[in-house]
């Protein structure tokens, strides 16, 4: 006879397990990464009873973890990409706000600067507009400096965060290794420790928030975790660690290397993608560098153009304008940390601001040739040198003495804005006037006129010498001499006069018009005491309209609005991509939830079902007891 008691007690045990699992599910309804579990019941093998088989009750065959491992992999991937974009977006928005802030941006300062120049041009003799111009220059200096400083702070913050994230990655790798070991210890082929697997998946998801990983399952239940281009981060119960160290190429920023147990660190910065680390690196490479370079280039070009025009002017103190009104940060040359110790450093200077790009450059030396690579598009100039002119930059390798394998990293414009500084504090030193003036002699009989004149070469030593254009009576008819008044030296002899002709002498150029008479004198001389002369101020103010940058296609203000647009476009793309990735992530999370998530109503129903079965089985035991009792009573 079948053993009712044993059969029903097997059921009691099975449903106890079921109820326990249900309560485990309910208890973990709020646990992140928890996958619901289900008790799998199976009928126990029957007892042969004559020609028939009688059931032997129920047993728990397995407690299943309901998961879709493909979805879990997707979640990891989407987590890595949306976390990358989210980090990028955070920094991009900050950069964008910095550049586009209506008060803090460069634009109002540039406008104020050019307006102040116009005010000086309006009233060059007055002191107030000159003082105001110096104030506007100072304001411009502060804007350039603070924008550059803020961007540098962002760069430092990227490094600090990288340090922090690397610490997190190492901690997670350790934990994963530990869980790997735990799983390895307790699991068998039939019995996978569901909660530990959940924990490991959750740790992997957290790791994916930091950096993209790929996962390879091993036969013993452990997982190997790889980062970068296949570097092992975790293998079994062993975790490697990531370390940060100064970059060999750009020593002022951090590189990330992976350190095995025995080997020395291998730099994998450029192989790391995804996650917050990927986001930080992408921001640094794709937005920050270019924004800093653009700002620096605007500063360099503005200072260059302003200085050279200012040098062609004449100030209230009776001096030629200083060519050193504004100074900027010079190009930076970084020798590779692994260069030969005897190798020197090349000299890089800005030769032509119109040709300057916003790219950085790398220089390598091999087989007697230097290769200069523009990093924005990897176009390369190769040759033995030692002098190169590339993109408006002069490279001088004369004293470098490189050996094969040496390399350098060049940032031509990075520090331009940071070093932007005004060197003039004396309002009278603003060269609003032109160094020369022209006049017709009162005694002239003819009505010849001489134009106000332009400066063609301010370095000419005789620029300020008094020069008479003299229609000497002893000359052949219709000719004049150009005479230095102080030395009486004839600089140009018997020049034939035509109406509208130009004369170039001593670094200036004038135009002659009208009908001269013999004996007429036109004079070009030093412009002493010309307080109201604004000719150079007008030319300085006109720099606003000059298309100087980008091979003479952009004004200063255009170049800044292009920077705003560039940062805006990248930020916009990042935001849009972030939305896409986040919705993909969300879809995957929902997919996972629908497979693995706990539904309390479902659990409640299960609870009732298992409770009823449990109650029924109790009744069976009671029945079996009463059957047994009636048997006893019958005897």
């Amino acid at each position: 006879m079948a053993d009712i008691l044993r059969t029903s007690s097997s059921g009691l045990l099975a449903y106890q397990t079921a109820l326990a699992t249900t309560s485990h599910n309910i208890a973990n309804v709020g646990t992140e990464g928890y996958s619901r579990q289900r008790v799998e019941l199976e009928a126990r093998p029957p007892n042969a009873f004559g020609a028939t088989n009688i059931g032997q009750g129920v047993s728990v065959s397995d407690i299943n973890r309901l998961i879709d491992s493909f979805v879990i992999g997707n979640i990891r991937d989407f987590t890595a990409s949306s976390s990358r974009l989210s980090m990028f977006e955070t920094f991009a928005s900050r950069t964008e706000n910095l550049i586009a802030d209506s008060q803090g941006s460069l634009m109002p300062a540039l406008e104020g600067f050019f307006s102040a120049l116009d005010d000086v041009a309006n009233d060059p003799a007055a002191n107030a507009p000159r003082v105001a111009l110096l104030g506007a220059v100072e304001n411009l200096e502060q804007r350039f400096n603070s924008l550059a400083t803020e961007m540098q702070k962002l760069e430092q913050e990227v490094d600090e965060r990288l340090l922090f994230e690397v610490g997190d990655i190492n901690a997670l790798a350790q934990e994963i290794a530990q869980v790997n070991e735990d799983i390895h210890r307790v699991s068998s082929v039939d019995n996978q420790p569901a909660d530990l697997l959940d924990k490991r998946d959750q740790l992997l998801k957290q790791l994916s928030e930091k950096v993209s990983v790929s996962v390879v399952e091993q036969n013993d239940g452990t997982l190997n975790v790889l980062v970068g281009s296949g570097q092992l981060l975790v293998t079994g119960s062993l975790a490697m660690s990531l370390v940060t160290q100064p970059d060999a190429i750009q020593p002022d920023r951090l590189a990330i290397a992976i350190q095995g147990t025995t080997t020395s660190p291998v730099v994998i910065t450029n192989n790391l993608t995804g996650g917050t680390v990927g986001g930080l690196l992408d921001y640094r490479n794709n937005m920050l560098d270019s924004a800093q370079n653009r700002l620096g280039r605007t500063a360099i070009a503005l200072a260059d153009a302003f200085n050279s025009q200012h040098a062609e002017g004449y100030d209230l103190n009776g001096n030629l304008g200083t060519a050193n009104f504004l100074t900027v940060g010079a190009p930076q040359v970084l020798p590779n940390a692994n260069n030969n110790v005897a190798t020197g450093v090349p000299v890089v200077t800005v030769a032509d601001v119109t040709a300057l790009t916003v790219s950085d450059y790398s220089v390598s030396f091999a087989a007697g040739n230097y290769s200069i690579t523009r990093l924005s598009d990897n176009s390369t100039v190769t040759g033995p040198g030692p002098l190169f002119n590339v993109d408006g930059l002069d490279f001088d390798f004369t004293t470098v003495g490189a050996v094969a394998g040496d390399s350098f990293y060049i940032r031509p414009t990075r520090f331009g804005a940071l070093g932007f500084q005004s060197q003039v504090t004396d309002p009278a030193a603003i060269a609003a006037a032109s160094p020369i003036r022209t006049s017709t002699a009162v005694a002239n009989i003819g009505d010849s006129q001489v134009s106000a004149g332009t400066i063609v070469d301010v370095t000419d030593v005789n620029l300020l010498a008094t020069v008479d254009i003299y229609f000497d009576p002893t000359n052949p008819a219709g000719t004049f001499d150009v005479v230095d008044r102080a030395t009486s030296a004839v600089l140009q002899n018997d020049v034939a006069y035509t109406n509208g002709m130009t004369i170039t002498q001593n670094g200036w150029q004038v135009q002659l018009t009208g009908i001269p008479e013999v004996g007429d004198v036109l004079t070009v001389e030093q412009n002493i005491g010309a307080a109201t002369d604004n000719r150079n101020a007008l030319l300085l103010s006109d720099l606003r309209n000059q298309q100087i940058l980008d091979n003479s296609t952009s004004t200063f203000e255009q170049s800044y609005s292009a920077l705003t647009a560039e940062v805006g476009v990248v930020t916009q793309q990042v935001k849009m991509n972030l939305e896409v990735e986040q919705s993909l992530l969300q879809a995957s999370v929902q997919e996972r939830e629908s497979v693995s998530g706990v539904n309390l109503d479902e659990e409640a129903a299960d609870l009732i079902r298992f409770q009823q079965a449990y109650q029924a089985l109790s009744r069976v035991i009671q029945t079996s007891q009463s059957i047994f009792q009636s048997l006893l009573d019958a005897t």
């Binding site: 309804v29 709020g30 619901r36 991009a92 928005s93 964008e96 586009a100 406008e111 050019f114 307006s115 116009d118 041009a121 309006n122 009233d123 003799a125 007055a126 006037a433 003036r437 022209t438 006049s439 017709t440 009162v442 002239n444 009989i445 003819g446 106000a452 008479e517 013999v518 412009n527 010309a530 307080a531 109201t532 604004n534 000719r535 007008l538 103010s541 006109d542 606003r544 203000e557 255009q558 609005s561 705003t564 647009a565 940062v567 805006g568 476009v569 930020t571 969300q586 929902q590 939830e593 629908s594 693995s596 998530g597 706990v598 539904n599 309390l600 109503d601 479902e602 409640a604 129903a605």
Partner: protein, 402 residues
């Protein structure tokens, strides 16, 4: 599809958060009045707005420059008007003084006195300053007094011929001053081509007329003398070349035309042997010298035959020179007026372009409030719905009924 409890909860929460994000964005738009808050909301529009802002700022600056130029030219214009009045009055006085029928030596002295006042006034105007304490008519040398005199009829210009141009449009500059040389000094004497005079040592009462250029093609800016070799003949001599102009011993008739060098002058009266008349190419003569010479003529001409001729000659020359000065002042005034007109037309142009830029900027950047407010109403309703749905769904649990 199976739904987990967390999913129900998260989805409800997420839709509330989404609605809140939208609402906050609309709220920010409304409080700032701008369509986009960061360049990434619309990068091309943001950069366009920056360019427009810059263009508007530039036009605003040009407007300020134009105001400045108008002020400067306005001051100059009123000075020029005063100069014109003074010259006009001086001309009347010269005519009065020249009227020998009505004037006595006493009344002439009174006229000379008023002319002196005029000269002082003119000199003051030439040395006047603007509101900033800068000399108006000094060219670039606005910190030093442009005109000085030694009190002996020598007037010196210490300024230069500089002209300050102001930027009133992106490609348009306007000259905002005229130098003292251009206004007061560089004035051709005589008739503008040549000037005539009688030698002060003449003893006859011959007077030479202003004359005119008859044949511009053969006119040369050279100096000549007409010397009477007898009461009825004279020679013409080219001082510049040092050569006599043939024919020699030309016959003299009272008031008859004398022709050489493409010009025609007349000598009237009775010159005597040795009397010399000069016909010089026009030189620059400042208007102070013109007035000074006039005063000198009125005050110091001796009252005899030759002296009366000198007086008449001096008055005639002074009238000529005053006319040249007036012509010059009128020319400068016309040019100033033209410049002010061009400022006005540029100002109209500036204002029109500014308005255009501002309206484009407004189209790009300014918020459509009606649209934004209705959007906000919609979004706040949506948020309420999300919140209510969340609460309702969260209450549904099987545990509540077992």
């Amino acid at each position: 599809m199976r739904v987990s409890t967390t999913q129900i909860h998260n989805q409800g929460l997420q839709s509330i958060l989404d609605q809140q994000t939208k609402l906050i964005k609309t709220q920010n738009q409304l409080s700032s009045g701008e369509k986009f808050l960061a360049p990434s909301d619309n990068p091309s529009a943001a950069s366009r707005v920056l360019d427009l802002d810059e263009a508007i700022a530039r036009i605003t600056q040009h407007e300020e420059n134009a105001d400045f130029a108008t002020q400067r030219l306005g001051v100059e214009e009123s000075s020029l008007a005063s100069i014109e009045n003074i010259l006009q009055r001086s001309r009347e006085l010269a005519l009065q003084a020249g009227n020998t029928a009505t004037q006595t030596s006493v009344t002439r002295q009174a006229i000379a006195g008023e002319l002196k006042e005029n000269l002082d006034q003119l000199f003051d105007i030439a040395n006047s300053k603007d509101a900033n304490g800068e000399y108006l008519f000094a060219g670039f040398q606005s910190s030093s007094q442009p005109f000085t005199t030694d009190g002996l009829g020598n007037f010196t210009y210490n300024g230069d011929q500089g002209q300050i141009a102001l930027q009133i449009g992106s490609t348009r500059q306007v000259v905002a001053n005229d130098s003292g040389a251009d206004v007061f000094q560089l004035i051709r004497n005589g008739n503008g081509s040549f000037s005539v005079d009688a030698n002060s040592a003449n003893t006859g009462n011959g007077i030479i007329s202003t004359g005119s250029v008859q044949n511009p093609a053969s006119f040369q800016a050279q100096d000549f003398t007409i010397t009477f070799t007898s009461a009825t003949t004279y020679d013409v001599f080219n001082v510049t070349t040092g050569l006599p102009v043939p024919p020699a011993a030309r016959p003299y008739t009272d008031g008859g035309a004398i022709n050489f060098n493409g010009i025609e002058v007349e000598i009237s009266g009775a010159p005597v042997t040795g009397d010399v008349f000069t016909v010089n190419a026009s030189r620059n003569q400042d208007m102070f010298t013109t007035l000074y010479d006039l005063i000198d003529t009125i005050e110091n001409s001796p009252d005899n035959l030759a002296g009366n001729a000198q007086f008449a000659q001096g008055i005639a020359n002074a009238l000529n020179n005053i006319d040249r000065s007036m012509d010059n002042v009128i020319d400068v005034r016309t040019s100033v007026g033209g410049r002010m007109n061009s400022i006005d037309s540029q100002a109209d142009d500036n204002a029109a372009r500014k308005l255009q830029y501002q309206s484009i900027r407004s189209q790009i950047k300014d918020l459509d409030f009606a649209e934004a407010i209705s959007k906000m109403t919609f979004e706040s309703t949506a948020l309420q719905v999300a919140q209510q749905t969340f609460a309702r769904v969260q209450n549904l649990s099987l545990f509540n009924v077992i």
